[in-house]
Structures are given as structure tokens and as C-alpha cells.
């Protein structure tokens, strides 16, 4: 009589499973697993939703301006009156005036129209600034500019950083040395100071070299400047990761099989750093939005009268006592955007590689 099968082998296990109608084990890609982890992270998803809503709202700025507020971002309405809850109110009222009886000026602060909260048929929902411009419209258009610069510069920065990191990490030797020194050169300067210097240099005449022509007021100037100064902040960690991957067997075997440098870089190395790149990209958008806000606040970013969140805060500084919303509202917008991106980025990092510690440090 044969001994009962007490050892569980692969054959016996699959027979048992088939008998019990178990579902066969299906392999899942790392991306799917990451998505499953991410979708359990309610906080990250909520943050993503907030960011998407902000982007949508800013993208719809022209619609809001035309159909709701009935004004553009740079149109001045000082000197006009608006009906708020049935009563006419001056857009910019108060202020000092000359009294011919006393032959002197009566000193009074100006009064800017505060938030009307939809009591003026959609006009001046968040009030006006000192020139009588609609704050809500400028906030949305400012967001468009800030987000375009933030996301655009993140794309350029990431693309260039990945390319340089691949070059340096794969080739090593002289190429690595040159690229690393390039990173060091940029990294030696404080980010904001370097950005201010570059922006100021291009502010008057723009950029007209190598067949590229960019006018002084163009958004490309802050976009390119910010992408340039933040390249090392992605490039260096990626280079390190690629140097480590370069020593793995799968790379050696690809090279041994006759794969060319470009093939190895883009087919073998790049997919293995994709998750890192994705996380960096998300986090660098937040960093770039903050850098743009800082540059514009200091007058070296988006040029007036075009709004950006940073220059809106700066413009509101002189009215901080009587109209604090002028600086507060764009400040809150920046906080919400950057916070939501950072929270989502953290969640994405945890989902893609729970073991990795990926940070962007200034």
C-alpha cells in the first residue's frame, strides 16, 4: 500500500487548487500594485483632487472672466461704481482730498471694494485691488501663469535632468565628471539668487541667441530660468541611482548582448528609474511654483501688469492694513496648491516604492 502523499509538491498543490476551484495566481505589474496602494491612500487622493480642482479653476479663468466677472485681469475699474446688494458703491472710494475752505488736505485712507460674495452679479467676488481690478479674476489668471510656469519648468527640468543623469550614469568617466561639475556649478549658487540674477539679466532685452527669440515679458523667461536652476536637484539623485543600476547584471547582460548605449539607457535604465522620476516630477512642480512665487514677489518673475500669485502678494503688501485679502488670498492659493502637490507626491512615493527615501532638498 502506497504511503499517503504528505509532502506538498508543486504538482500536488496545483491539483489541490484545481480541485478546490481556486483562482490561478495572476502576475501583476509594479504599476498596478502601486495604483492599488495609492488608491487606499485617501489623503493622497484627496490632495490630488484639490490640485486638479485648482488647475481646472485656473484653466477656466477666461470663462469666469468673460461670463461671470465681465472683466479682464488687467482692466482698471477705479473711478467706477458697482451695485452691491442694490446699493451703489465706489470701486475705489475714500482717500484724502483737498478742502478749499481750509486750503489744506483732509487725510483719509482709500477704501477698496471688499469681497462682494456674489452680491454684485458675479463682479468683484473677492473684492478689488488698489487699481480697481477684480481680485478673483486676477487670482485665476495668476494661477494660470504660476501653474504654467511651475508645470512647464518641471517638465523641462525633469527632461534635462533625466537626460544628463542617464548620460553621466551610463558613460561614467569623463562624461560623468563634466555633468557632475555642471551640476555643482549650478548648485553652488543659492537658487533664488541665481534665478533673480538670470531673470534680471533677461528682463530688459529678452533672449535672442542660437536662433531662439524670447521677448522680455514672455513667460518663457521665468520658465526657463527656474528649470535651469533646479536641474541639479533632480539630476544628482538620479545620477546616483543610475550609477548603482549600471552595475547590475541585467545591464551588463544587455551590453554583452550587443545593445547600444541609447538602447541600454532608454530601454533598461530609464524604466527602472521611472517611478523615482515620477515622484520627483510631482514634488518639483510644487518647488517650482514656490520659486516662481518668490521670483514674482521680488519683481523678477511674471511681469506686471500680468498677474501671478507671487506678484499679487507683493502688490497687496502696500494695502495690507486696509485690504489684507489682496495678499492673503493668493497666499492661501499657493499654500493649498503646494500642500496638495506635496501630500500627493508623498503618497505617490509611498505607493511606488515604499522602501525608497526620495526627497528634494534646497
Amino acid at each position: 500500500m502506497a504511503e499517503p502523499a504528505t509532502e506538498l509538491t508543486l504538482d500536488s498543490a496545483s491539483l489541490l487548487a484545481a480541485e478546490e476551484h481556486e483562482i490561478a495566481i495572476v502576475g501583476r505589474s509594479p504599476w498596478y500594485l502601486a495604483w492599488r496602494r495609492l488608491r487606499r491612500n485617501w489623503v493622497a487622493l484627496f490632495a490630488l483632487l484639490v490640485f486638479v480642482l485648482i488647475v481646472l479653476a485656473c484653466a477656466l479663468a477666461p470663462v469666469y472672466a468673460k461670463h461671470v466677472a465681465h472683466t479682464g485681469p488687467n482692466e482698471v475699474h477705479a473711478g467706477e461704481k458697482v451695485i452691491v446688494s442694490g446699493k451703489p458703491k465706489e470701486v475705489v472710494g475714500g482717500g484724502s482730498f483737498y478742502d478749499p475752505k481750509t486750503n489744506d488736505f483732509v487725510v483719509k485712507p482709500p477704501e477698496y471694494l471688499g469681497p462682494t460674495w456674489w452680491h454684485a452679479d458675479g463682479r468683484f467676488v473677492l473684492g478689488t485691488d488698489n487699481l480697481g481690478r477684480d481680485v478673483a479674476v486676477r487670482l485665476l489668471y495668476g494661477g494660470r501663469n504660476s501653474l504654467m510656469i511651475g508645470i512647464g519648468s518641471a517638465l523641462i527640468c525633469t527632461f534635462v535632468a533625466v537626460f544628463l543623469a542617464l548620460l553621466a550614469g551610463y558613460n561614467r568617466g569623463w562624461t560623468d565628471w563634466v555633468v557632475t561639475r555642471f551640476f555643482d556649478l549650478i548648485w553652488a549658487f543659492p537658487v533664488l539668487l541665481l534665478a533673480i540674477a538670470l531673470s534680471s539679466a533677461l528682463a530688459v532685452n529678452g533672449f535672442h541667441h542660437f536662433g531662439i527669440s524670447i521677448e522680455p515679458g514672455s513667460l518663457w523667461i521665468p520658465t526657463l530660468v527656474i528649470s535651469y536652476v533646479l536641474i541639479p536637484y533632480i539630476g544628482r539623485p538620479l545620477r546616483g541611482q543610475i550609477l548603482s543600476l549600471r552595475e547590475k547584471e541585467f545591464v551588463e547582460s544587455a551590453i554583452g548582448a550587443g545593445a547600444g548605449p541609447l538602447r541600454v539607457m532608454f530601454s533598461d535604465l530609464l524604466p527602472n528609474i521611472a517611478s523615482t522620476v515620477l515622484v520627483f516630477f510631482t514634488l518639483i512642480i510644487a518647488a517650482n511654483i514656490l520659486t516662481e512665487a518668490g521670483l514674482s514677489f521680488l519683481g523678477a518673475g511674471v511681469r506686471l501688469p500680468d498677474p501671478s500669485w507671487g506678484n499679487l502678494i507683493a502688490s497687496g503688501e502696500d494695502q495690507i492694513q486696509t485690504a489684507p485679502w489682496l495678499s492673503l488670498v493668493p497666499g492661501i492659493a499657493i499654500v493649498l496648491t503646494v500642500l496638495s502637490l506635496n501630500i500627493f507626491g508623498d503618497g505617490l512615493r509611498d505607493a511606488l516604492d515604499p522602501r525608497a527615501k526620495v526627497r528634494i532638498e534646497h
Binding site: 488687467n74 482692466e75 482698471v76 477705479a78 473711478g79 475705489v92 475714500g94 482717500g95 484724502s96 482730498f97 483737498y98 489744506d104 488736505f105 487725510v107 483719509k108 485712507p109 482709500p110 488698489n130 487699481l131 480697481g132 534680471s200 530688459v204 522680455p216 515679458g217 519683481g299 511681469r303 506686471l304 501688469p305 503688501e317 502696500d318 494695502q319 495690507i320 492694513q321 486696509t322 485690504a323
Partner: protein, 546 residues
């Protein structure tokens, strides 16, 4: 608790007690000291702490801003000066370094002065008659900003073409023994006495370097400058070699510490918090009422005009209709409110109302529809325009409004903001091809020539450092201005001619003037003896503590 820990704890308590005791003692000393301070030392100021928003230079042959002149008026005396009094009497010329007003020849071309005896610089050296000549030559050698005022001195133009240290300006003859200075003009100038009172003509020791010397040139006034720190500040202390005259007081403050603070909020807060006694910087409009309650706000009406120039050489402003349209597009009353918080008076004139030749112009009432139709009929709809302005809050605000209005009437305008330091030299350079932009003029001296000859005489246009930003030239008005230069006295008839020139120029609309600003001067409540000199502003020499 271990013994060691106990010891550490006790040490901490002792240190805390000692610190608190020291603080209480210090407060007590301070309180006692303030109580012991003289209650009624009206003329004693000790150290005056002032805040200026900016200066350009502290070199008499270079400085050309109101702030720099505010400081240097009491440092570098000129042959003639202005009375240290309030009101229109402050425009009266009186002897400064000169013994008396000059003898002027009947043809108005020769001016004879004698220096006061015993004059010394702050380094103890004698002030010589020849030092005046050296000052004028130095201005030409260093290409000072004021040299254009002195080109009518005989021989000055030839000297300016090839200036050398050893070269001569034949129209200035000096004699150090007799202390005499004779100035001969190639053509008579009605404003020449006022030109001699400009700080550009302040004598400096012979062979003083032509490099820019900020605050190191020996002084002739009641104060001298020490410790100049660029972008941070400077100090003025008494000049021990200065002797007060009937017209130039000794000065009340012993020492004046000036901080340069560009940010209006910071400057205002300094006075409110007691860290400064006086600030001449702009006060943000929404803080003015607050400043008034926390300190002493003095409103100074000085001769100034804020305007937008339009370069008649550059399209679309080469068309009269476009320039007129721009004038119609500005709501000047609203601009006073949004830029100054109401501390300004709307104007369409070149000259401010303080001038006897002022006749109010009201040609361009606010009319957007008319402005739009003028733009359309001029064929300028959609024309690209760059508006230039400098990076100062009031200039930015005014230019943003201006740009918005240009867009409203059908032009395609954008704004270009330049740093304060380079603004005027950039827009005054023909190579920039600047179309339109912000500007202001504060009078150098009280004469219409200071406005029309400098800013709107086509004969005075230069390719660089040009002050006629509109590049305005018109044969008729040019020749009228040249003719009026010869009038020595501003009689009613002469004033009427100036008013006519102004009307003719504004009919061509090279400018869109919009404001005569009222300047807020902010003092702490402790300050008294606040006097406003018409030309130089707050007379720091006469400030005192209450």
C-alpha cells in the same frame, strides 16, 4: 535629584535672577535718564535720525535727486543760496558764499561776485575764488548731470568739447587775492542767478578728483558728511569751520544719521516705532491715516509734475491724434486716488500751479469714446506699444493704470519696468527707441526755463542722458523758449508769454501730465520746528525736539 543636577538647577536660577535684575536696572536707568533730560531744550536736537528712500550721489557735481540735495544743501554752499524760510519767500535768492548779490552788467552777460572773507572748508583749508572755476570744470570733466546748465558761460562749450584739467573756461575769471569771481555769458540768461545757486556750482578744493566722491569732498556748509555706506546710509556732523550768517543758520541737530530705506512700509514703521525721527519716503496710501495718528504728518506742496511722455519720433506717437487720444483716456481725478491715496492734484499743465506763469489747461477732459475714435481715425488700432516705468510703487501703479487705458482705447500696450537706478538713462538714450513712459520733474530752481528749456526745447535734445523724453521739437516753441531765455525778470508780460508757450506745446500733446503731487513728510511726535523750504523741502538745519 543628584547633587550635580541640584547644582546645575541652582546655577540656572541664579543666572535667571541676575538677568532679570539687570533688565530691571537698565529700565530704571533709562527711565531716570529720560526724566532727567531737559524738558524745554527747544533748540537742542542732539542726534537726528532720518530716513530717506534713496539718493543718487553725495558729490555736488554729480547729485541730481531731491533727496541728495536735501542733505547737501546744508553741506555744500554755493555763491548764492535760498532763504531758510517757509513759503514763497523761500524762493528768494540771497548771498551764500558770496559777500552780496552780484553786480550784473546792463547787457545781462557779466556777473561779478566777491567771496566772503575767512571762508574755510571743513578740513580747515581756505575757500579760494578759483575753487568755483574748478567746480565748473570738474562738472565737465566728470560729465556731471548738471553741466548742461553751464554751457552758456563763454568758453564752456569749447571746453566741454575737449575738457582737460589744465584747460580753461575763458568766461570765468577769478582772483584769489581780491576774492573776486567774474562770470561772462555768451548769451544772456534770465535764470542764470538761479543756475549759480544749484549745488552743481558749489566750490570744491582745487584739483579735487573727477571721480565720483560720495561725502568725502570737504564741506562749506554747517554740516559735513561722514561715514557714507552705499545703499545703507550716511552721517552728517557739524562743520567746525562754518560760521553762521544772516541767511545760513548754524543748524540745530548736532548730528544727523540718515538711513536709506527704499521700502515705504519699513520707513514709516521706523518713525512709528521711534527708531527714526523723520522719514521723507512715500507712505503707503492706506497707512497715511494711521501715520497721522501715530506721528506728525506734514504735507509738503512742492513744485512738481508727474506725466507720461510720448516719443514723437516713434510710432504710433508720431501721430498727433494718438497723443491727444492718450490725454483723453486718462481719468486724472481717479489717478490721484489710486496712486497717492488722494494726495495730489490733477493737472494737464507742464508747469505746477506755484508758478506765476501758470494758466490752468482743461483741454483734455476724460472721454474714452473720443479717445477710441481718435485712435481709429489715426489708423493706430492694435498698434504695439511698450510703456516704460521705473520700479517704484507709485510709478508702477500709475504705469499699470496708463497701460490698461491704452489697451482700453485700442492700442496693444505692455509694460516694461526698469530698476530705479537705470531708468532715466535708459529711456533718455535714443538707441532705446522708447515709445512712451512714466516721468516726473521736481523743479531744480523756480523758473519756467527749468521746465521748458530742459524738458521740451528741441535744441537741447541729446542722444544720451536726454531729459526731453518725448524728443519733442517744434521750431516755433523752440525759438520762443530761446527768446524768453534772455528775459531777466519774470514780469507779467513775460509770464504771459510762458503761458502761451505752454498752451502751444500742450496742443501738440507730447506729454500727458496727470498730477502735481503732495508729498507726505512723516515725523515722530517728539519733533518740532518743522519748516518747509519751498525748493529743498524739510529744512533739517531748523528741526528741533519739542
Amino acid at each position: 535629584m543628584t547633587a550635580r543636577r541640584r547644582g546645575t538647577w541652582l546655577l540656572g536660577v541664579v543666572a535667571l535672577a541676575a538677568g532679570i535684575s539687570m533688565m530691571v536696572a537698565a529700565y530704571g536707568v533709562a527711565a531716570t535718564r529720560s526724566q532727567a533730560a531737559p524738558q524745554n531744550a527747544q533748540k537742542s536736537v542732539g542726534t537726528l535720525k532720518a530716513v530717506l528712500d534713496t539718493i543718487d550721489f553725495l558729490d555736488p557735481q554729480q547729485a541730481y535727486t531731491g533727496q541728495s540735495w536735501w542733505a547737501m544743501w546744508n553741506v555744500y554752499e554755493t555763491l548764492l543760496t535760498y532763504k531758510h524760510v517757509d513759503g514763497p519767500a523761500g524762493y528768494q535768492l540771497v548771498p551764500g558764499l558770496a559777500q552780496s548779490l552780484p553786480k550784473i552788467s546792463s547787457n545781462g552777460r557779466v556777473y561779478k561776485f566777491t567771496l566772503r572773507p575767512g571762508l574755510k572748508y571743513s578740513n580747515g583749508k581756505k575757500v579760494l575764488a578759483s575753487d568755483f572755476k574748478w567746480a565748473i570744470k570738474r562738472g565737465f570733466l566728470a560729465t556731471g548731470q548738471g553741466v548742461g546748465f553751464y554751457t552758456d558761460i563763454a568758453g564752456a562749450k569749447a571746453y566741454a568739447a575737449h575738457p582737460t584739467k589744465g584747460g580753461n573756461i575763458s568766461g570765468i575769471i577769478t582772483n584769489n587775492k581780491t576774492r573776486s569771481i567774474t562770470v561772462k555769458l555768451s548769451t544772456p540768461r534770465g535764470d542764470f542767478l538761479t543756475i549759480l545757486a544749484l549745488i552743481f556750482a558749489a566750490p570744491v578744493p582745487a584739483n579735487t578728483s573727477t571721480a565720483i566722491l560720495n561725502g568725502t569732498i570737504p564741506a562749506t556748509g554747517p554740516y559735513r558728511i561722514t561715514g557714507y555706506d552705499p545703499n545703507r546710509g550716511f552721517t552728517m556732523v557739524r562743520n567746525k569751520y562754518f560760521k553762521a550768517t544772516k541767511y545760513i543758520p548754524r543748524g540745530n541737530p548736532d548730528k544727523i544719521e540718515v538711513a536709506l530705506i527704499g521700502d515705504a512700509n519699513t520707513a514709516t514703521q521706523r518713525v512709528i516705532s521711534g527708531q527714526a525721527d523723520y522719514s521723507n519716503g512715500a507712505i503707503p496710501p492706506d497707512r497715511i491715516a494711521n501715520a497721522k495718528s501715530k506721528g506728525n504728518l506734514v504735507l509738503r506742496q512742492t513744485a512738481n509734475t508727474y506725466y507720461f511722455w510720448m516719443n514723437i519720433r516713434e510710432a504710433p506717437f508720431n501721430k498727433l491724434k494718438v497723443r491727444q487720444a492718450v490725454n483723453y483716456a486718462l481719468n486724472r481725478a481717479t489717478m490721484q486716488k489710486i496712486v497717492w491715496g488722494g494726495l495730489g492734484q490733477a493737472t494737464q499743465n507742464v508747469l505746477p500751479p506755484t508758478y506765476p506763469s501758470y494758466k490752468k489747461l482743461t483741454t483734455y477732459s476724460y472721454n474714452i469714446a473720443k479717445a477710441k475714435s481718435l485712435i481709429t481715425s489715426a489708423g493706430a488700432k492694435g498698434a504695439k506699444v511698450t510703456v516704460w516705468t521705473r520700479d517704484v510703487s507709485d510709478a508702477r501703479d500709475a504705469a499699470q493704470y496708463y497701460t490698461a487705458q491704452l489697451n482700453t482705447i485700442g492700442l496693444d500696450a505692455s509694460l516694461n519696468i526698469l530698476p530705479r537706478a537705470t531708468y532715466y538713462s535708459t529711456v533718455g538714450n535714443v538707441a532705446t527707441h522708447a515709445q512712451t513712459g512714466w516721468a516726473r520733474w521736481l523743479e531744480d530752481y523756480p523758473h519756467p526755463l527749468d521746465w521748458f528749456d530742459v524738458l521740451l526745447n528741441g535744441n537741447r535734445i541729446t542722444n544720451t542722458d536726454n531729459n526731453n523724453y518725448a524728443w519733442y521739437t517744434n521750431k516755433k516753441t523752440n525759438s520762443e523758449i530761446e527768446g524768453l531765455k534772455k528775459s531777466q525778470v519774470l514780469t507779467p508780460a513775460v509770464n504771459a508769454r510762458w503761458a502761451k508757450v505752454e498752451k502751444e506745446i500742450m496742443a501738440q500733446a507730447p506729454w500727458a501730465p496727470w498730477s502735481n503731487r503732495v508729498f507726505p513728510e512723516f515725523f515722530s511726535k517728539k519733533m518740532g520746528c518743522i519748516h518747509v523750504q519751498r525748493l529743498y523741502g524739510i529744512d533739517l538745519a531748523r528741526l528741533c525736539r519739542k
